[in-house]
């Protein structure tokens, strides 16, 4: 007989780890956050990664990452053929809001970048360019708002639920937001160095600030969890001393935050810029992904009594 039978298994009343959100969900959160942050960095601050077929690489990568995240979300559904139903409850469900924004973003940004597509020196779709008409600003605004929501909605899904105390805090969507921008800017720094171009000081300062904010948010989250007795404290304990401590302390704290901060300083000094910048690009992705993975893995349901 299967485990879970009352004849062979005691339903012990103790904190139970959540078992439904795994690596695919962490990849979904990571990909969508990074993709949207790349788009917003390009749109708001003009931060470019380069060009491919006449298209902005930041836009192309952003679109691809959001699409990959969406595909992971759909493939993880119990009934993938009913994915469209996830658009039906935006008044209550953050997943529904996020799914609508995913589609809006993918649709609008595809429409925006395709006119720039250059094949053999020609732009076959150039006549569809948005130009400077008033409605293009409206559509840009909608796409930007969608991208912002795509970054934070997985965090809001987690934080709105009262079931898992470690997740039930505004610090989760804030971490998702700042980690996404830190890793997007980290990627831009790496691409800039790889193309042999000078890295603007503002980018390095911005990256250092974003990493500091991420560090503070992570520390606040842990302190907050330790102050709340019970399951949230146990979740924090598992991050610092339990099974997931190597991933969190080594992957998020050291490799994802402290080391990139040091490397940004190295790059700002003009020493080994290429190595430092590429390392920042890679390490910030590792830290961003593992921060989400670790938060999911230490989610614990308190006992009902």
């Amino acid at each position: 007989m299967r485990s879970g039978s009352p004849l062979t298994f005691s339903f012990r009343l103790e904190p139970k780890p959540q078992t439904f959100w795994h690596v695919p969900h962490a990849v979904w959160f990571f990909a969508m956050g990074l993709g949207s942050a790349l788009y917003l960095n390009r749109l708001l601050f003009g931060i470019e990664l380069g060009q491919v077929l006449g298209l902005s690489l930041a836009h192309v990568l952003g679109l691809a990452l959001v699409a990959v995240g969406g595909l992971i979300l759909i493939s993880d559904l119990g009934r993938p053929e009913r994915f469209w139903r996830a658009l039906m409850n935006p008044r209550h469900s953050w997943i529904s809001v996020g799914a609508i924004c995913d589609f809006l973003f993918l649709f609008l940004d595809s429409l925006y970048i395709l006119p720039d597509l250059t094949l053999q020196g020609r732009q076959p779709l150039a006549s569809f360019a948005w130009g400077d008409a008033w409605w293009s600003f409206v559509l840009h605004g909608i796409a930007a708002a969608s991208a912002f929501i795509i970054i934070v909605y997985p965090g809001l899904v987690l934080s709105f639920s009262p079931s898992i105390p470690f997740w039930n805090t505004t610090l989760i969507p804030l971490q998702f937001l700042f980690f996404a921008f830190a890793s997007a800017l980290g990627m831009a720094v790496a691409f800039q160095a790889a193309r042999g171009q000078a890295i603007p000081t503002t980018w390095l300062v911005g990256e250092a600030l974003l990493l500091c904010v991420c560090l503070l948010l992570v520390v606040f989250h842990l302190i907050n969890a330790y102050q709340v007795r019970g399951t949230a404290r146990e979740s924090a304990r598992r991050l610092l001393r339990g099974q997931w401590a190597p991933h969190f302390l080594g992957g998020v704290f050291v490799a994802g935050l402290v080391l990139p901060l040091a490397l940004v300083a190295v790059a700002a000094n003009g020493d080994a810029v290429l190595m430092a910048a590429v390392s920042v690009g890679v390490l910030t992705q590792v830290g961003n992904f593992l921060s989400k993975f670790c938060v999911l893995k230490v989610g614990l349901y308190p006992p009902i009594f």
């Binding site: 009343l13 559904l77 009934r79 658009l87 469900s93 009262p162 898992i164 308190p302 009902i304």
Partner: protein, 195 residues
């Protein structure tokens, strides 16, 4: 519903009655009985805490569901419309009581070799969707009590209308300082405990 912890002897009759009544899929138990050891040696005792979906008035599963598949009847019973569920498991993650389940058809109660009960389960439930205790609406609508209530030998599960102040559960909650499970979750459950 009111659950009287003092009366529960941990016989699991409710757990099995529910399983038989609802043909729930393998590994899914709508009416578990949890165990908890309390006190310090030599004054130790074991508590049995029966549980089920708490039919929350402010149900987090309903809020989390992106498809609107989870709905509440006029009598307050929260149900899943399997035809609308797309299987995000958001409700499973959102339920503070572990009362939401996800059914993935991975064989029967005894593995790959199916027994008649498994066939009934497959007819009744849609794989890849969320499942939960229905308070045995099919019985309640006929004026019967839920299977777990009907079968309890110690009458520790007391079913009735909490809106009616003279009903047995309402009186129990009033007279014995009933408490809701995990009140800090703010779900305002329709299931109360007395001890």
């Amino acid at each position: 519903m009111v659950l009287d912890i003092d009366r529960c002897v941990g016989c699991y009759a409710c757990t099995l009655a529910c399983k038989v009544e609802n043909n729930t899929p393998p590994g899914i138990w709508y009416a578990p009985v949890f165990e908890k050891e309390v006190g310090k040696y030599p004054n130790v005792k074991r508590l049995f805490i029966p549980a089920l979906c708490n039919q929350c008035k402010d149900a987090p599963c309903m809020t989390a569901c992106p498809t609107g598949a989870i709905y509440k009847r006029e009598d307050g019973i929260v149900l899943v419309n399997e035809d609308k569920c797309c299987g995000t498991r958001a409700c499973v993650a959102a339920c503070p009581y572990g009362a939401m389940h996800f059914y993935e058809d991975e064989g029967g109660e005894y593995g790959e070799q199916l027994i008649p009960l498994d066939s009934l389960t497959r007819e009744k439930y849609t794989s890849g969707t969320a499942q939960k205790c229905t308070f045995c609406t099919h019985r309640v609508d006929q004026g019967l009590q839920p299977a777990c209530v009907e079968t309890c030998p110690t009458e520790c599960r007391i079913f009735g209308d909490l809106e009616d102040l003279d009903s047995a559960p309402s009186r129990l909650i009033r007279n014995r300082n009933g408490e809701q499970p995990r009140p800090e979750a703010g779900t305002d459950t329709s299931v109360w405990y007395v001890r």
